[in-house]
Amino acid sequence: MSRVEGYGRVDRGRTVTVTVDGTAYTGHPGDTLASVLLAHDARPLDTSIKYGRPRGIGAAWVEDPTGLVQIEEPFPEPMVLASTVEITDGLVARGVDGQGRLSQVADVARYDHRHVHCDVLVVGAGPAGLTAARRAAREGLDVVLVDDRPEPGGTLTGTETIDGRPSREFVADVVAELAALPTVTHLQRTTAFGHHDDGLVLALERRTRGASRQRVHRIRAARVVIAAGAIERPIVFEDDDRPGVMLAASARDFLHRHGVLAGREVVVCTSDDAAYAAAVDLLDAAAAVRVLDARSRVPEVWARRCAERGIEVSAGTQVRGTRGDDRVTAALVGEERHEVPCDLLLVSGGWNPTVHLFTHVGGRLTWDPALGAFRPGTPLPGVEVVGAADGVFDLAGCLRQAGGPDAPHADEEPGEPTMVLWRTAGDPARQFVDLQRDATVADIARAVGAGMRSVEHVKRYTTIGTAHDQGKTSGIVASGITAELLGRPIEDLGTTTFRPPYTPVAFAALAGRARGDLYDPVRTTPIHDRHVAAGAEFEDVGQWKRARHYPRVGEDMTAAVLRECAAVRTSVGVMDGSTLGKIDVRGPDAAVLLDRLYTNVMSSLKVGRVRYGVMCGNDGMVLDDGTVLRLADDRFLVTTTTGNAAAVLDRMEEWLQTEWPDLRVRLTSVTEQLAIVAVAGPRSRDVVGAVFADVDVTNEAFGFMSWQDTALDGVPVRLARISFSGELAFEVSVGSWYAAAVWDRLLEAGRPYGITPYGTETMHVLRAEKGYPIIGQDTDGTVTPHDLGLGWAVSRKKPDFLGKRSFARPQNQDPRRKQLVSLLPVDAATKLPEGSQIVDLAEDGRLPAPPVPMLGHVTSSYHSAALARPFALALVKGGRERIGEVVGVPVAGELVAAQIGDTVLVDPEGARRDG
């Protein structure tokens, strides 16, 4: 046990048991897995990915390059740092040798997001961050303070003095002051992991209460104060990867946070002042300590403190290597490499400001030779960097910089400048730079030798900085060593890019609530309940759920659809068409607008009439189709396909607003205002006539492609004679509040005729039998109205409309263009799979070896009740010229013969539409 009495802020009154690599360990609330393992002098955690060398805990927080564990219980989580896992009873973990393991069962934990707005976001609750947050809060600003550690105070150990009192009291006071203000939100265990434009910072909270396990806060701040501290820099030497080699400040952290002494015989090797504090603190906690300072001048104040305690300090002395098996047993010191026994070798090569959040938004770094570090360069608007993150490494300076007029006070500590020391002399093949990737100085040397000149190339050649820690300790050291090897100044080389996230974030946390049915809206019509009650099967059409068919007991889809088709062709069916897009087009220039948007003429449409219309893109390809009702001289109601409703309205608005703002027209979406029920079949007149008794539904009074307004129990209803099946049919549209009631009335009235609800699949069959294309199914963005046989809907008179000019391009004149035709399998039995390709039928009827030229493909294919056989629609090169010819369709390796025909297969005379 290395627990030291009188140290640490863990709750020693309670015991927590965890299991690591099969061994049970006890610790206390406030411990991390790392502190527990150190407290028990546990054996190395794992072995390295490439060379299988033992690895242990190298640091006390997110910068640790080695102490990775796999959490097994309570729920598997791959690759987390032992130093960041707070222990809980029953936690089971194991060391990771390189790869984490995902759970095989779904994670039931809840993750959520929250948007937060504030005047000032302070990232980091160390002395600089707390001071900055207090300052802003006292100005009355809305402040959010986030910090990734379990408790505020950053790396303050408690030994410091602020405003004449122990530093932890200062921390407690500031936290209490902030907590009392309703304008301040203070979140611990919350990592600001990404910084984006306009003050957007994403922060992940590891929650300890509430309804979710983790929460992503999307914080939009008018001002972002980055007080993220600094990361201690290692010095590279031979066998620097041995367990027991640790960053100096981390040993202090373990001691003061957890009361754990990471070693009893300690060698501190440093090129910086800060490590002396570790030496002194560890000695005070009863370790034996010796200091090796690479610099020739030892800072006076620290020399005195060391002398008072009998700590031997060797100036101008470097560590060259280590000895040991599973862990370090000695440091090899100086040119003579004489062995100094130790069980903990603390290293400090200075500090690197934590600049990640500054660089995420494009901040440039500058090399500060006095600090021996890259620090934030030209300030960014709306972003402040304070404290160690800005290269202010002394407490007094941090407080002064962050605090403004009432800054807290700490005594100045005169010191010596940091000496930049990337590595000491030794065998480069055993000098580890990136301990997770097992990459050494020799690897960098090979990269440079192979011709690599950019740090990005060195990174890729060596893989340094690409592991779990993303090079938090290794990245800049690698730049420094590369610069040395190339004989160039490090400022010329710079660093590799710091990319978000700062620390790894679980996929599920980013997904948040957008899982399952909340992943994407499930849109349903006002009649949806009725379809569910009738046992409908649904299909996804965009975000909509549409009733596809209504199987009865024992029916599969084919049987249900054949029954529904037969009902429509012989009696009457009803379908919910409410998902169609509907746009109210109003204004004196409404007809002018529609004439420009549709291929056919809409201005000649008479009030009370309906016209089918086609829209093309500027490239002349069909975009959408639908019906247009002229409601008044200056008012039209346009319908669009379900899937294109939003896109068509957006496009109409785009042209209207940006190209033709002079047109006096306004567009209003009424897609959900109006529900539409199609009533189709020879008995539809009886049904509609029964429900709307005041309407004369005879053909003479209510002709095809006309509409009439009426009312049902005082509720306005519009009826239109529109057919997408070729049968006599009516569309009933009503305010959607009343849709379900109207549906019920129609079913009730249709009962004598066996009225049958039918779904989209049946609708597709019925329209295909008539050769009506479905945009998006029979077209693919490369099909013109002429290709579909809709040349009749393309005006020759209008001087221009969108897409017209493209029809004149050479490709559009090619008689070999693909055209929509029907395809009847010669065996009258095979239903050709939709998507099947079409080829010439060879004499022997066999499919030749590839490559086989393709003529087109099957776009729609169904069993037909009316034809008592399967049939298909297809796009075929020069198809209309080939009507009557037999082609081949490869199905499961065999060629199925099919005859090309006209698209209209049922009622080609159009006799049925009037009943």
């Binding site: 984006h196 434009d197 306009d198 957007l200 939009r220 494009g362 893109g617 500027n618 490239d619 957006d650 496009r651 608005e653 785009e654 042209w655 607003q657 940006t658 190209e659 703002p661 002079d662 001087p799 221009d800 017209k804 000019r805 493209s806 004149a808 391009r809 050479p810």
Partner: protein, 93 residues
């Protein structure tokens, strides 16, 4: 995700907007008079500068108004926003 200043609604999240590409590309006054090449130029070709770019945007999840903006494609940042030019704003498809 940056904020975009809708001329009507004020600054809103980028997610609420849709992109309309280059601004100030007028629909030809007489497409029939154009050669195939000139027509292709209008339909398919747009500038793609690295630097300031005049563009059309729509606040599609807000007021649904279109507006023009100048944005630096190197940084993605908006330099200015303004109402639509009187004509020739370049609806494209």
């Amino acid at each position: 995700m940056q904020l975009i200043a809708c001329p009507w609604c004020g600054p809103r999240e980028e997610l609420e907007f849709s992109y309309g590409g280059q601004a100030h590309v007028a629909y030809p006054s007489d497409p029939a008079a154009l050669t195939d090449e000139q027509w292709a130029r209008f339909v398919f070709f747009r500038d793609n500068p690295k630097g300031p770019f005049a563009e059309r945007w729509a606040h599609s999840a807000g007021c649904r108004r279109w507006f023009t903006a100048v944005r630096d494609t190197r940084t993605h940042r908006f330099l200015s926003v303004g109402p639509l030019a009187a004509s020739g704003s370049g609806a494209t498809s």
